[in-house]
Symmetry: C2
Subunit: 99 residues, 2 copies
């Protein structure tokens, strides 16, 4: 079945949303992601950690006006895996339509 | 974000696979589903239970040659929810391509 190629790391709409948001923004901070996705701090933090562990997103920590600023970005590996995931999803949807 | 409409019950490739298989077969027994999806008994049982709890699939128990036979089928509600899920996924994928 084509869906066997789907990556488990993306089996969540929050993770799809994080990858989507980071694929079109060079970097985003925690609160921007939270606002875009409409999720709680804890929920977002959990999914960010999981994607970071996979190497699909990275973290950049800095200081702006002496305040810590944490920004997230998509890694090349993450972009490739996400694009592949969407391709497989698309194939799956097409196969459903042919029934 | 369009993905907010995705149904949490389908956030798993195994569940997508179950719904897909049952959308094209009137009924399937446990072992047929297992063979189609290439998953373990425990994994399949967990996902079947979750979809049953949502009312998206139903169970029909009978005896064939005095042996118990359990077959699963998609409910009208399940078919509708699954089709809606796929539509939203498709919109999401299209939106990603326009970036």
């Amino acid at each position: 079945m084509v869906i066997e190629g789907l990556h488990k790391a993306f089996e969540s709409r929050v993770r799809l949303g994080i990858m989507s948001a980071l694929s079109v923004n060079d970097t985003l901070d925690f609160n921007s992601l939270k606002g875009l996705l409409g999720v709680t701090d804890g929920n977002l933090a959990t999914h960010i950690k999981a994607l970071e562990k996979e190497g699909f997103i990275g973290v950049r920590k800095s200081f702006i006006d002496k305040k810590p600023n944490t920004r997230y970005y998509i890694t090349p590996e993450g972009r490739g895996a996400f694009e592949n995931h969407l391709k497989i999803l698309e194939k799956f949807i097409q196969s459903q339509k042919q029934d």
